[in-house]
């Protein structure tokens, strides 16, 4: 159901859904839930959302979001004014007014922060994003993949620091904005990727905000079994593929693999997975999953954790030894699976020197069997 407004009651389900889309990463979105809910309630405000088909071609749209460490952000919570300043700076640079905003990464904090800025500025938000999930790098977006420039972009923080970036190469831009972040104390708020409505419609991952909300509504209905049933229904009727249960187990080992940038979580099966083991490799987000040492899911498909048996979605930095979790896989939208896209967000970008295998092909019985989806 395409939404045209978000109200305070939508913020909690949006948060829950955003954690699932975070594929294990994306930061602890709950830190912004309450401030945003309270703001909307107090001001009796609604955030205007534009379904992407209704976005006028001549609109100027720009992304807004958080960059850097979500943990450091928690020390000094934003209120949306940082994003507002970044937008003002960007407007000056492009000499146009921004008519609508969008989330570059519809996951975790980067769903909630653009909502906060939209509430603060009154600028509507487009229903859709540039990643369809969380990714660790700023250029891992459909806009970059299909040839949109990331700059000019503006960066600001709550202490009054501001910068503009004009690099033509998105990789160089990512590098320099991260260099600037060091001066910013590790956290900054950006506005960028300015384009027209027409351009945006071509490469947006559509409807991701509504999708996060719908998943969030399903995730409110614990226990896990009900949650999963709901998720199945919502994901099936979306541009994503139907969710699949990959494993249920308890965490027996959390460790770093020193030579790689990867972290590893090992699970021992419970319930009907009792005889099996499971391993998830993490680079900010959950990127590879193995059952009994055999690959069962890989990036850019979504690999997410739900607390078992409550069914509550969790980030990969929230898990601890002995915790029981369910691992869920969701096939990512087709736009992240084209040959072009896979060179940017495919397994090779995370150190896996082999070609991408879609989630459905790891589980053909579930997706194409007699009772397949």
């Amino acid at each position: 159901m395409m939404r045209e407004n978000f109200v305070d009651q939508d913020i909690l389900p949006l948060t829950l859904g955003s954690i699932l889309l975070g594929s294990g990463g994306g930061g602890n979105a709950f830190t912004l839930t309450t401030p945003l809910e309270n703001d909307l309630k107090r001001n009796k405000q609604r955030i205007k959302v534009i379904p992407y088909h209704q976005l006028p071609d001549n609109y100027t749209v720009a992304s807004v979001g958080l960059l850097g460490s979500p943990e450091l952000m928690e020390e000094n919570l934003p209120d949306g004014s940082e994003g507002k300043r970044a937008i003002n700076l960007l407007e000056k640079a492009i000499n146009r007014k921004v008519d609508a905003l969008f989330a570059l990464e519809a996951a975790g904090i980067n769903i909630l922060y653009p909502l906060m800025v939209a509430a603060k500025t009154g600028i509507p938000l487009v229903d859709g994003d540039g990643m369809g999930r969380a990714f660790p790098e700023l250029h891992m977006t459909t806009f970059h993949i299909y040839g949109q420039p990331g700059t000019p972009s503006a960066l600001a923080n709550s202490e009054g620091k501001e910068d503009l970036f004009f690099h033509e190469d998105n990789f160089l831009f990512d590098l320099n904005i991260r260099k600037a972040l060091v001066k910013y104390g590790g956290v900054g708020y950006f506005a960028g990727q300015a384009m027209t409505g027409r351009e945006m419609k071509e490469f947006i991952v559509p409807g991701t905000l509504s999708f996060a909300l719908e998943m969030g509504l399903a995730l409110k209905n614990g226990p896990y079994e009900d949650t999963f049933q709901g998720l199945s229904h919502v994901t099936k009727n979306s541009i994503y593929g139907q969710a699949i249960e990959l494993f249920i187990g308890s965490v027996v080992e959390i460790g770093n693999i020193a030579t790689q940038k990867l972290k590893s979580v090992v699970l021992k099966g419970i319930k009907h997975y009792q005889a099996d083991s499971f391993q998830v490799l993490i680079q900010n987000e959950n990127v590879f999953a193995y059952r009994n040492d055999k690959m069962v899911a890989m990036v850019p498909d979504i690999i997410s954790f739900l607390e078992y048996p409550s069914g509550k979605p969790i980030n990969n930095n929230e898990i601890y030894n002995g915790m029981q979790i369910a691992v869920i896989g969701i096939p990512c939208p087709n736009m992240l699976r084209t040959t072009k896209a896979l060179t940017v967000v495919g397994p090779a970008s995370f150190g896996y020197k082999s070609s991408y295998e879609p989630l459905e092909m790891f589980h053909p019985d579930y997706y194409f069997g007699k009772n397949g989806v």
């Binding site: 407004n5 088909h53 084209t338 019985d365």
Partner: protein, 566 residues
């Protein structure tokens, strides 16, 4: 080991008869003694080791001088005049089980007056008696453990289980057996080999129940039996580790029109009533029929589909009803069952029922009424138990008027009519279906993934899809096969879609900037549009309110304010 009252009594009676110290050893441990402070280690009792070596009873008739006494720790303080050890039978394997008796001089003198040998024989009998009591005690304990273990084991089994003794009296049963009233059936049927009856399963549906019997014999004599229940309908074992299949698995769509149909299908699938699916060609009627079967209680049975329009009239009868051997030229030897018969205990799906010839319509009506069929050339009716789902894209009412469809059959079929909306009435689903089939065919055909450009998507959304989902699916399969470009442009689309939509604007979504209308106009038209889409009933209004992000009360206020009427 705990010793029973019988053993204590036996020991006491011996002590009363003859003053002596009695010590019972069992598996290297003292289990009873009259000694005030005994040594408890078996090596401190050399007499026990000696009995093991000799494999017989040992008598020490000259204590303190006997060679065994040299090893004894209490040799200095010993006042015993005679010491006896009667080993138990199991002592031959390992030492440490038997009865040890120690007599004082007075007792020995008393024994001698009656003669020592008869006393020794008598005491040996005593020892054997005590051994017997000990064995009995151990056996009782073992039996008790078995009983407890069996009770627990039975509680873990979902099947009803009844155990019987040699008199065919029930000795044990579990809870499912009680629920299934197995004792009741067994009472009336004391010596069954195996029989069928009706039981209640968790759905409170009466299902046939098979009882299996296993008899146990010893020396060709009956010593007991075990009865257990089994569902007579074999259910497919669920494959391990395949996550549960979701409801209505293959039906994609979020449009209110479709959601209404899905909830209706869920509601009626469980009943046994005949369903008539109506809708244009290509709307997925068979998929719905299959879903109805999967959600019904018959999902364990067969789902048999036949397209009445696809089979020549002359063959349709034998296909439907089967035939007996030699009923016509070319008939198979031994005859052949028809698909109605094959669908027994399951669901029969008759697609394109409107294309069924009038003669067969009459025969089909009979099947529905009589619940039995006759094979072509056959002489006896075969009773059948099927759930009928029929489908057609034709206007049956018009056909009745024209006399090409039987009215009575129509009423028999039209018990629960379900109208499946054409794709153009569920525009929200077109984009979802395009995405779904793009994903599906890229995967199945092992092609690199493709996406639609926004302009191509607009063209497809604007097309009115006369062939419905079938047309859409085939079009996507064509695109995936033919085009090598990653992004599918409008120029890549099939000619009919390109041409037809050239002048048309998309049906569903406007790209006109929103603020051109006044707020009031927009609200009014918007509310009317949404109410038309989601329905004017309370449930529909709730959804409209949710879409607009306002409360239900506010929506009612606006309906009143703008004087909106259905």
């Amino acid at each position: 080991m705990l010793i029973s009252g019988a053993i204590t009594a036996a020991v006491n009676s011996l002590e009363n008869l003859l003053p002596c110290q009695i010590t019972l050893w069992y598996r290297q441990k003292i289990i009873f003694t009259t000694l005030p402070s005994p040594h408890t280690l078996v090596k401190e009792w050399p007499i026990i080791g000696e009995a093991q070596q000799l494999n017989s009873s040992v008598v020490i008739n000259s204590p303190r001088q006997h060679h065994l006494c040299l090893k004894c720790p209490v040799v200095d303080t010993c006042s015993t005049a005679l010491e006896l050890f009667f080993p138990f039978l199991e002592n031959s394997q390992e030492p440490g089980s038997g009865v040890c008796l120690q007599f004082t001089q007075t007792a020995l003198d008393y024994m001698k007056t009656l003669g020592l040998n008869p006393w020794l024989r008598h005491l040996k009998n005593y020892a054997e008696h005590i051994e017997f009591l000990l064995r009995q005690n151990a056996q009782i304990k073992k039996d008790l453990l078995h009983t407890q273990q069996i009770h627990y084991l039975l509680s873990l089994i979902p099947e009803g289980v009844v155990l019987m003794d040699e008199q065919r009296e029930i000795s044990t049963m579990n809870e499912p057996a009680e629920k299934l009233k197995l004792p009741h059936y067994l009472e009336n049927n004391k010596n069954p080999k195996s029989f069928k009856t009706l039981g209640n399963n968790f759905n409170l549906m009466e299902t046939p129940l098979q009882i299996q019997v296993k008899n146990f014999y010893h020396d060709k004599k009956f010593i007991g039996a075990l009865y257990h229940s089994q569902n007579a309908i074999p259910t497919n074992p669920t494959p391990q580790r395949v996550p549960p299949a979701p409801e209505l698995p293959k039906i994609i769509g979020k449009s209110p029109a479709l959601q209404k149909i899905i909830s209706m299908v869920k509601q009626v699938a469980g009943s046994e009533s005949t369903i008539l699916l109506r809708g244009e060609s290509g709307t997925g009627k068979e998929l719905f029929a299959h879903s109805i079967h999967e959600l019904s209680l018959r999902s364990g049975g067969p789902f048999v589909a036949i397209n009445c329009a696809a089979i020549p009239e002359s063959l349709l009868e034998s296909e439907l009803f089967g035939y007996e051997e030699g009923s016509f030229t070319g008939a198979k030897k031994g005859g052949k069952p028809g698909i109605i018969e094959l669908a027994n205990n399951g669901t029969l799906f008759l697609d394109e029922i409107g294309d069924m010839p009038l003669t067969l319509q009459a025969k089909l009506l009979r099947v529905i009424q009589e619940k039995s069929i006759e094979r072509v050339g056959g002489s006896r009716p075969i009773s059948i138990n099927i759930r009928l789902v029929a489908a057609t894209h034709r206007n049956l009412e018009e056909m009745i008027e024209a006399g090409t469809f039987r009215e009575d059959l129509f009423f028999r079929l039209n018990v629960i009519p379900i109208f499946i909306p054409p794709l153009r009435q569920r525009p929200e689903d077109i984009e979802l279906l395009l995405n779904y089939y793009l994903r599906k065919y890229c995967l199945l055909l092992r092609k690199p993934f493709r996406i639609l450009s926004y302009a191509a998507l607009q063209k497809l959304l604007g097309y009115n899809w006369p062939g419905n989902i079938r047309e859409l699916e085939n079009m996507v399969e064509y695109l995936v096969n033919i085009h090598n470009q990653e992004i599918i442009a409008p120029g890549d689309l099939p000619l009919n879609i390109r041409q037809l939509t050239n002048e048309k604007t998309p049906l569903v979504h406007t790209t006109a900037p929103l603020p051109q209308k006044t707020k009031e106009q927009r609200s009014q038209q918007e509310i009317i549009d949404l109410l038309n889409r989601y329905g004017w009933h309370t449930e529909g209004k709730k959804r409209v309110a949710a879409v607009l992000g306002i409360s239900l009360a506010t929506l009612y206020r606006r309906i009143k304010k703008y004087k909106i009427k259905e």
